[in-house]
């Protein structure tokens, strides 16, 4: 129906009714991969994407940035075959691949990157994730409308064969960032021809291994192998269908019925069952994500007192949460930055995993020192966004804190309201989570930088801010790592938050598939996938 964008409702109704009844089952194709994804793509225009994991899956299959990822999630050359980095780490020169084409045969040029990045940062695009490209010179000023689009630090040279990118400061994760969809090129020639309608199925061109052919809103997106892709010979699949399977239990049924080859998430509560019944298909592996409780450190809150924060941390029994409450479908966490983060060693909050009785005794003492006791019980307001998982964890923690005489009042709200409320600082403790945008510790540590929007608890420590600021200017990766680790330790010593769990990736994968690997980014380009049968 997408093909008739402005047909009148009545005719559309009639035609699709008859079409629907005439259409027969499409013949099963062995080399078409069926993936269950957990939501609807917001747009094929990468500046309009809303940030779901399912969106990256589709976009990385149809587009390709200067760099791409292998099955292990490691970066490798994509649209650029090689690149030079200047001494000061601020200038990157990318040499574009000879013969790289859009799916209509037009060449992919540096112009397409300049155009795409300008489009992303254009205030008129109102892109949610534009800030990811802020390391590029003048990007923020362009995005706020203070500078014109052409002030952005990107240049197309040598007739579009070379792309020169200038950064504000050395950015160690910049190459990794280029695999993110915000850094994909946009087909300038198609946008010039079709305007905003370029994303419609009839008009769209892409430069990845696949190209979209059909989109049944809320049900299925189908892509076909792109014959103009530079490695088309090596792409084994003929196409991919992405089925929107928001109901995760239903997705399991469809996987068991053989209708889906891959399911990109399953409910944590089903993990044990799946592990027992479909052991070869059930995947669970560490992911770059942290599940934590924000502690409101603003003046006037009981949690502004470090002793209270320490006590809450001491008696939170993470192992019980991960192994019993969540049945092994999360890993217990003692820090903000998760394992698997590149150039970073996992840090550990002090004293939170020793003998429980000792921890409890110390926590009770701290609470007493903070002035709370039987006559003046500590009353805390805990907020979480509505979900069974979050509820179970909240109830468990409230029970763990009870021996301290802490009286927890729990409030839940749908996500929109939850985040709006905690952004306004109206809570003592609040559930939050962060999944890395790119594999770098700074992406997590920014959550505690003073004045940052996502720093819901209002944590402010000049020493912490100074360490992060210093790390941003250092080029040497080891030196930078030391600074970032030191910063995290400052925050952990302050008990600035309650780290609880590290996220894991949960996937169901048909054992007959190869070229699909668990990785911390949970990125799995279909380009590498083959059926072994």
């Amino acid at each position: 129906m997408l093909r008739h964008s402005h047909t009148r409702l009545a005719t559309t109704l009639l035609s699709s009714l008859s079409l629907a009844s005439l259409a027969l089952a499409t013949p099963a194709q062995a080399d078409t991969l069926n993936i269950g994804v957990m939501g609807e793509l917001a747009s094929f225009d990468t500046s309009q994407v809303s940030g779901g994991v399912w969106e990256s899956q589709i976009l990385m299959d149809v587009y390709e940035g200067l760099l791409k990822e292998n099955p292990e999630g490691e970066v490798m050359p994509g649209m650029a075959t090689d690149w030079d980095i200047s001494e000061d780490g601020r200038t990157y020169t990318f040499h574009l691949r000879e013969g790289a084409k859009w799916s209509d045969g037009a060449p992919v040029t540096a112009e397409d990157f300049v155009f795409g990045w300008q489009h992303l940062l254009d205030p008129a695009s109102a892109s949610k994730y534009a800030y990811l490209l802020y390391p590029i010179k003048n990007a923020e000023a362009v995005n706020t409308g203070d500078r014109p689009l052409d002030a952005l630090g990107v240049e197309s040279l040598d007739d579009g064969k070379t792309l020169k990118v200038t950064l504000d400061a050395p950015t160690p994760y910049f190459l990794q960032l280029l695999t993110h969809y915000t850094a994909y090129p946009v087909p300038k020639h198609a946008v010039e021809k079709y305007g905003k309608q370029w994303v419609k199925m009839d008009n769209i061109v892409t430069n990845g291994a696949f190209t979209p052919v059909e989109w049944v809103s809320q049900s299925r997106i189908s892509v076909e192998k792109n014959p103009d892709y530079y490695e088309a010979d090596e792409v084994e699949l003929d196409g991919v269908n992405y089925f929107n399977t928001e109901d995760r239990n239903a997705a399991i049924s469809r996987f068991r019925a053989g209708e889906l080859d891959i399911v990109r998430d399953y409910p944590s509560s089903r993990y044990q069952w799946l592990e027992d019944n479909l052991p070869e298909a059930t995947h669970l592996s560490p992911m770059l994500g942290s599940y934590y409780y924000v502690l409101n450190t603003r003046e006037g809150r009981p949690t502004a007192d470090k002793r209270v924060r320490e006590a809450l941390n001491l008696v939170a029994r993470r192992k019980v949460l991960s192994e019993q409450i969540m049945a092994g479908s999360f890993k217990d966490a003692y820090s903000l930055v998760p394992p698997g983060t590149s150039h970073y060693d996992v840090q550990r909050m002090d004293g939170v995993d020793g003998d429980y009785q000792e921890r409890l005794a110390r926590a009770k003492q701290l609470i007493e020192e903070a002035g709370y006791g039987p006559d003046n019980p500590l009353h805390l307001q805990l907020r979480y966004n509505t979900s069974d998982e979050h509820k179970k964890i909240a109830i468990a923690l409230a029970a763990m804190w009870k021996p301290l005489g802490v009286d927890v009042e729990m409030t839940n709200a749908e996500a929109t309201v939850h985040y709006q409320t905690i952004q306004q600082g109206d809570f003592d403790i609040a559930r939050a989570g962060w999944i890395a945008d790119y594999n770098d510790a700074e992406n997590f540590l920014t959550l505690l930088r003073s004045g940052v929007g996502n720093n819901y608890g209002g944590y402010a420590n000049p020493e912490y801010d100074a360490l992060l600021a210093q790390a941003a200017t250092v080029r040497d990766l080891d030196e930078r790592e030391a600074l970032l680790e030191k910063a995290e330790n400052v925050a952990l010593d302050d008990y600035a938050l309650v780290p609880l769990l590290y996220y894991v990736t949960r996937n169901l994968v048909n054992p007959d598939i190869s070229g699909w690997q668990d990785n911390a980014e949970d990125d799995h380009p279909s380009r590498w996938v083959t059926f072994t049968e």
Partner: protein, 308 residues
């Protein structure tokens, strides 16, 4: 009849206007906006977004802008599904919901009405208790329980039918969702038909008909069923409007591209334009269905006439 119909349609205009206006302001009063989420946006980006969707204008101005566009048939772009306009989303999803819902209602009538009649005729018999017991269970068990069980049994264990998916509306893909959607309706219709049949069978004109010596078959077919259908008919108006606008549960479990999920998701996402689009659409359908029901009344009951 025509004058009556036109009059009713004219009266629908202020009704819809009130519905639209209340929904518009209620939606804006709801805490949180379309751009609030886990990740707080930098202020400059939020400002860009608000400007792009005219959310930076004063509320009355936004309202006037919306009403102006609406008069030209423009529901605006979806805030969330950016490659589609609200009109496209409804135009793409409604035929699917209409098909599933229409079949479900048809099935519900075909099964529910006879069950109700039979139960009424065999009142207080074992059959009656069995039918009403099953109907009660049908009402009590919600479709988010029935649907996964159907998918599990027929899709996974027996593997007779697809466990989900739409596949362009292929017959095998239709069966389970239609059954899941109709079970509750069958139960309602059977219970309602039974009650109204029992009432009609106790009325004077049925006694008269029997006294005239008409056969039981004639009494039931010609004199009892038609008036007994009246309560079911008034139930059907809003019920049809509700069913053909989709069911979020059935759509999500079976992966069906209908419009039911928009009602819930648009509200949760604060997708203002899509919420308004679904409200206007649903409101208009309710008005239309109620009118059809009233017109159908006169066909069922000779006492009801809409001449002026």
């Amino acid at each position: 009849m025509l004058t009556y119909t036109l009059k009713r349609l004219l009266m629908a205009v202020p009704t819809l206007l009130i519905v639209i206006t209340i929904s518009f302001f209620l939606m804006r009063i709801a805490p949180g906006g379309p751009f609030d989420g886990e990740r707080q946006l930098p202020p400059e980006i939020e400002a860009n977004l608000k400007a792009a969707y005219h959310l930076d204008e004063p509320l009355p101005q936004q309202y006037l802008r919306y009403m102006g566009n609406l008069l030209q048939g423009d529901f605006g772009p979806s805030f969330k599904y950016k490659d589609f306009s609200v009109t496209e989303l409804i135009a793409q999803g409604f035929p699917v919901s209409l098909e599933i819902g229409g079949l479900a209602i048809l099935l519900a009538l075909l099964v529910g009405l006879p069950l109700g009649v039979v139960a009424a005729l065999r009142r207080n018999s074992g059959l009656d208790y069995a039918v009403m017991g099953v109907a009660l269970a049908g009402i009590a068990v919600p479709n988010f329980v029935i649907a996964p069980i159907l998918a599990l049994v027929f899709g996974v264990l027996l593997a007779w039918l697809p466990a989900g998916g739409w596949n362009g509306g292929a017959l095998p893909n239709l069966i389970l969702p239609v059954i899941a959607l109709s079970i509750q309706q069958i139960a309602y219709i059977a219970r309602m038909m039974r009650a109204s049949m029992i009432e009609v069978l106790g009325s004077h004109y049925i006694r008269t008909a029997r006294a005239k010596g008409l056969s039981e078959r004639q009494v039931i077919w010609r004199h009892a069923i038609r008036p007994a259908l009246l309560p079911v008919t008034s139930y059907l108006g809003p019920a049809i409007a509700g069913i053909i606008t989709g069911s979020v549960v059935i759509e999500q479990i079976f992966g069906i591209p209908g419009i039911g999920r928009y009602f819930v998701q648009a509200a949760l996402n604060r997708d203002y334009t899509l919420v308004m689009g679904t409200v206007v659409f649903y409101g208009a359908l309710i008005v239309l269905m109620n009118l059809l029901v009233d017109l159908f009344y006169s066909a069922l009951d000779p006492q009801i006439r809409y001449d002026d």
